[in-house]
């Protein structure tokens, strides 16, 4: 039961990342591209967690935590740069 659910989840999350890549490449404005990247790293966390379930190992938990923190910080840095023209004033 978990095996079938895992394959369906892999497919759906991979399709979500493909849709994010479309918005990242096409997106008419700069905030569109930023939010596409933001969603892409959150979806990549989901993909890493699915891979963890598939391998039945817990090696990649810290990787997921690191991606969450670095992605948030980079999103805030780019937004701050677009808002103020500077990151640390």
């Amino acid at each position: 039961m978990i095996g079938i659910a895992l394959w369906i989840s892999f497919f759906l999350v991979a399709m979500a990342i493909v849709l994010n890549a479309y918005r990242l490449l096409v997106g008419p404005s700069l905030p569109d591209r930023i939010i596409a990247l933001d969603t892409m790293y959150v979806n990549s966390i989901a993909l890493i967690i699915l891979y963890t379930i598939w391998l039945s190992t817990r090696v990649y938990f810290e990787g997921a935590l690191l991606i969450a923190m670095l992605g948030f910080i980079s999103t805030v840095a780019v937004c701050k740069y677009l808002l103020r023209g500077d990151i640390i004033e």
């Binding site: 759906l12 905030p31 939010i35 959150v42 989901a46 967690i49 379930i53 969450a68 923190m69 937004c79």
Partner: protein, 141 residues
Amino acid sequence: MAWLDKAWVDTVLEALTAFFLIAGALITFISSFGMVHLRDFYLRMHGPAKATTLGVGLILVACMLYFVLIERTFHIQLLLVTIFLLITAPISAHLLAKVALHQKLPSDTSTTGAPSELREEDVGQEPDTPHPEDPGSSQRP
């Protein structure tokens, strides 16, 4: 925890894991589909800001249940990732909305209302009070 050794616990845990996996992946896919399909930036921001966090949170809950199923251990790192995503997603959405208002992105024609609590400079206009090192900036057309 003796009740964990009963036979029906495995079945229930497996069913719950599969349910959370499917639900999380489906919600994640729907939010990304909304980000492609909707019309302007302010509408597109709803998916990543709310639904993606819920979907990834459900997948993390499924992973926790899976490790309870196979190892009878409870991993707190996954709960940390969930809490971190729940804290940071509104902040990045707020900052992105401020960036969009600052760049004066076009909104859909059926959009009504305007952000009333923001200052002039937050929506891309010149500020009311001049900058102390540049007194002539408020007189610019």
